[in-house]
């Protein structure tokens, strides 16, 4: 801030979602003509902060001032009006409309009450040129553009609104290097023009190249602000972690000798631009973690194993033998014995309005029925076992599963698959949004299942979990395995450093999946 009057200022901003604190008395100052980098782990509160600024989320407490006057925004439109424009991580483009339609969508030029298409076209062409994307045709439909082009349209759209403060939330995550360079040139020019830019990115090298000022967030608070370049990468990572461990994890077994044949093996899996030559093995009794930033291909990797993706290349081997897994039904077949605990239990894991009993038996109905008739007694026995094993707290088996707490819902999802006694268990961030007590029970359960001989592949966005639960962790970046951490090498510092694809941290040797 060095004496300059801040254009925009947030003070004491707090926001809670249910019992979860997303922001806790957070502060931020933004000055004109500068680029402000925001850093922090997944869930540190960056996104919520941006949403508050952009009028998407109303803060529980705290104040915002713009040009020295107190402001509050009831909607994104109100924030836009005030000159704050945000480019969100999840795209805000309307797929069925054309590029030009999208660029002017907030405030289309009108003549006689109708949208003036010529003026619209002109604005769109100007904005695209300003964003360095003049090659995109204004009449093309957004849904026909690849993701990286859409991101450029998103930036053009923001510029067309003549912002004073432009917020870019992971705006480059989907871009190719050539586009990133163009965007950087544009952003630097905008800084010269006197705009205030907020730049949120996990890519440290980008922040280093662009930012004048940086702020680090952790646990919903801004923990440090410093002039860009005054701290080393390692110091910044230190600031981003600095958190106590509060979870209790079961003890890991002494590293077992590698079994002769891994239960699950992948060789050179690739799929569109999301998976790039992934090779890995999981042995019986092993818990293997998938780490890295959100959205680096972890989810796609699990879906590829589970037979959901079409046009995947590479090989999947079960017990050393190549298999073709054409669908989830084939994956759960006894010869393969795979189970996937999905990311979003509400849509992919449970039928919320149906009862606990029905949800529990869905995946195992074929085993519980003879000639198409369900054996009620066998079903009841198995369900009782599962409810006992996982300690599912429910008022009864015949109430809708939607009435259970998040943690207990997640237990139902897991129990549903355990009813098949799977040999291979894939988990996609299973502890997201559940309470600490249930988390602990899940950690114990995972270890128990592994000890009983299951091969477990476990994706988590929570680094503590990876450290506490996993025998090995594979860190993905851009759809490829960038590093493998084994045993004591799994530290938060090593995880973050490799997730950001910088070579810092302790002395683990980087290994590349593509070398296999």
């Amino acid at each position: 801030m060095d004496g300059a009057v801040p254009l925009f200022r947030m003070e004491g901003i707090s926001k809670r979602y249910g019992g979860v604190r997303a922001l806790e008395k957070a502060e931020l100052s933004v000055t004109s003509g500068s680029i402000h980098g925001i850093l922090g782990e997944n869930g540190a509160g960056k996104s919520t902060l941006i949403k508050v600024m952009a009028g998407v989320v109303a803060p529980d407490e705290g104040s915002m001032t713009l040009d020295g006057r107190e402001v509050s925004f009831a909607s994104p439109a109100a924030a836009n009006q005030a000159g704050i424009v945000c480019i969100f991580q999840e795209l805000s483009l309307v797929p069925e409309l054309s590029v030009a339609d999208n660029i002017v969508i907030s405030d289309p030029p009108t003549r006689f009450g109708m949208i003036d298409r010529r003026a619209q076209r002109r604005i769109a062409e100007e904005a695209l040129a300003r964003a360095g994307a003049a090659d995109i045709h204004p009449l093309a439909l957004v849904k026909d553009l690849p993701l990286s082009r859409r991101q450029m349209v998103e930036i053009a759209k923001a510029l067309a609104r003549k912002p004073r403060i432009l917020i870019l939330d992971e705006a480059t995550s989907a871009l190719a290097a050539a586009d990133v360079a163009k965007i950087f040139a544009v952003l630097k020019r905008l800084r010269e023009e006197g705009l205030a830019l907020l730049y949120i990115s996990h890519r440290m090298n980008e922040i280093a190249e662009l930012a004048d000022q940086c702020t680090v967030f952790r646990n919903g608070r801004n923990v440090a602000s410093y002039a860009a370049g005054s701290k080393s990468d390692n110091e910044v990572v230190e600031l981003m972690i600095g958190r106590e461990y509060s979870h209790i994890f079961p003890p890991k077994p002494v590293r077992l000798p590698a079994t002769a044949v891994p239960v699950l093996e992948a060789r050179n899996l690739s799929w569109t631009d999301r998976l790039d030559n992934v090779s890995l093995t999981v042995a019986a009794g092993e818990v293997v973690g998938l780490g890295g930033l959100d959205g680096q291909g972890q989810r796609e990797l699990l879906l590829a194993f589970f037979g959901v993706l079409r046009g995947r290349s590479g090989e999947i081997l079960i017990d050393g033998k190549p298999v073709a897994i054409a669908s989830p039904a084939a994956a759960r077949d006894d010869r393969i014995g795979m189970a996937l605990i999905p990311e979003d239990r509400k849509t992919e894991g449970l039928m919320l309005p149906m009862t606990v009993r029905e949800n529990l038996s869905f995946a195992a109905l074929d085993r519980l029925s003879k000639g198409g008739i369900i054996d009620r007694a066998a079903e009841q026995r198995l369900i009782d076992d599962m409810v006992g094993l996982l300690a599912i707290k429910t008022a009864g088996l015949d109430i809708p599963v939607g009435a259970l707490s998040g943690g207990n819902q997640q237990k139902v999802v897991i129990a549903k698959w355990l009813m098949r006694q799977p040999r291979i268990i894939l988990l996609n961030d299973p502890t997201r949004g559940i309470d600490v007590g249930t988390k602990q029970e899940l950690y114990q359960l995972l270890r128990k299942l592994a000890d009983a001989g299951a091969a477990i592949l476990f994706y988590s966005t929570d680094y503590d979990e990876l450290i506490g639960c996993c025998d090995r962790v594979l860190v993905l970046y851009d759809g490829a395995v960038k590093r493998e951490l084994v045993g004591a090498e799994i530290t938060e510092r090593a995880l973050i450093a490799s997730a950001l694809n910088i070579h810092g941290g302790d002395a683990a040797t980087p290994r590349h999946g593509a070398d296999a």
Binding site: V56, S75, P76, A77, N80, F88, L91, S92, L93, V94, P95, E96, L97, S98, D101, N102, I105, S106, P108, T110, G113, M114, I115, R117, H137, L139, A140, L141, K157, W271, T272, E300, L303, V308, L309, R310, G311, S327, E348
Partner: protein
């Protein structure tokens, strides 16, 4: 530049519906004993525009990713109302027309208010309001009857300059006065945006609610124009339950034939008009080929299935199977 390619891609559904209709109509007139005469065209036009108006109404709502199962009942209600009011001196008739159209607009506005501000699902809300509208129609006309200003009726169902069907001219005028301004206004754009991706539209500060409300209200108005024309053709009002329901279902069929996506955000009322005209021509084709009219529903079903299947080809390109269910 290759602007025309983008235009073509955008209008593909409409053009396809247009081509289907032209083909069917050509076969029809070629095999009609009287051939392609003004009289044949006039009859076909008069039959076709009724469904065309209702299909336009349906289009507006479907664009917002909703559905209006009350259009047929608004059509019936306004028919019954017109058989009371659109009569008498020129002034009285004019007042009647305004009252009938106003009623349709009100019915549509009620639908919109319930769906948008009451947050009920369109399908349930409009089944309920449709039943209410039909109930009122039944109170107005327990038995078929009433009358209409016959001078006006004959003018609008006859021919201009002895060749052009007046009903077709009226349809064209409605397109120019209602559809074109709507589709090019900010509200129309909002309706499309809300239908395509409501979250993206919200995040962009688009007036979603007003856009959707305008779509529902104008749908009521268009259904009322249809009801008015029904009165002009039949000279009576008739609270016929089966006919109202048939119009609702056929309007959905016409919309799909016309290339309007039931998922919202895509399509045009022009396409739906040609979809409606094509759908109506199926019956005429059966007539000229001397089929038993009993075959009509079966053929309509088959044509509809084929048309819908054309739109499903995109599913073969999906690479992540989870996207099938989105």
């Amino acid at each position: 530049m290759k602007d025309w390619r983008y235009w073509l891609a955008e209008q593909r559904g409409t053009l396809l519906a247009f081509a289907i209709f032209i083909l069917m109509f050509a076969i029809y007139t070629a095999n009609h004993p009287a051939g392609f005469t003004a009289n044949v065209v006039q009859t076909a036009s008069n039959k076709g525009v009724l469904l065309a108006f209702v299909a336009m109404a349906q289009t507006l709502v479907v664009i917002t990713a909703g559905i209006d199962l009350s259009v047929g009942m608004i059509f019936t209600l306004t028919n019954c109302l017109a058989s009371w009011l659109v009569i008498g001196t020129g002034l009285e008739t004019a007042f009647g027309v305004v009252a009938v159209l106003g009623t349709g607009l009100l019915c549509g506005a009620i639908n919109g208010a319930i769906v948008i501000y009451g947050r009920l699902q369109p399908i349930v809300a409009t089944i309920a309001t449709g039943a209410v509208y039909f109930g009122i129609a039944l109170l107005l006309r327990p038995f078929p009857g009433g009358s209409v200003n016959e001078d006006l009726a004959d003018a609008l169902t006859g021919r201009l300059f002895g060749v052009v069907p007046a009903s077709l001219v009226a349809l064209f005028a409605v397109v120019l006065i209602v559809w074109v301004p709507f589709s090019r206004s900010v509200l129309g754009r909002a309706a499309y945006a809300a239908g395509s991706s409501e979250t993206a539209a919200y995040m962009s500060g688009v007036p979603i609610r007003r856009g959707k409300f305008a779509a529902y209200a104008l749908a009521g108005l268009l259904a009322a124009i249809g009801g008015l024309f029904l009165t002009f053709f039949t000279y009576t009002g008739d609270a016929a339950y089966a006919s109202g329901n048939a119009y609702t279902l056929f309007s959905i069929a016409a919309v799909v034939l016309g290339g309007v996506s039931l998922f919202g955000g895509k399509g045009s009322a022009i396409g739906a008009i040609f979809g409606a005209l094509a759908f109506r021509t199926i019956g005429d084709l059966l007539f000229v080929f001397d089929f038993d009219p009993l075959w009509q529903p079966l053929f309509q079903g088959v044509i509809l299935l084929i048309a819908v299947s054309l739109g499903a080809f995109a599913l073969f390109r999906v690479r992540n199977r989870l996207e099938w269910f989105l």
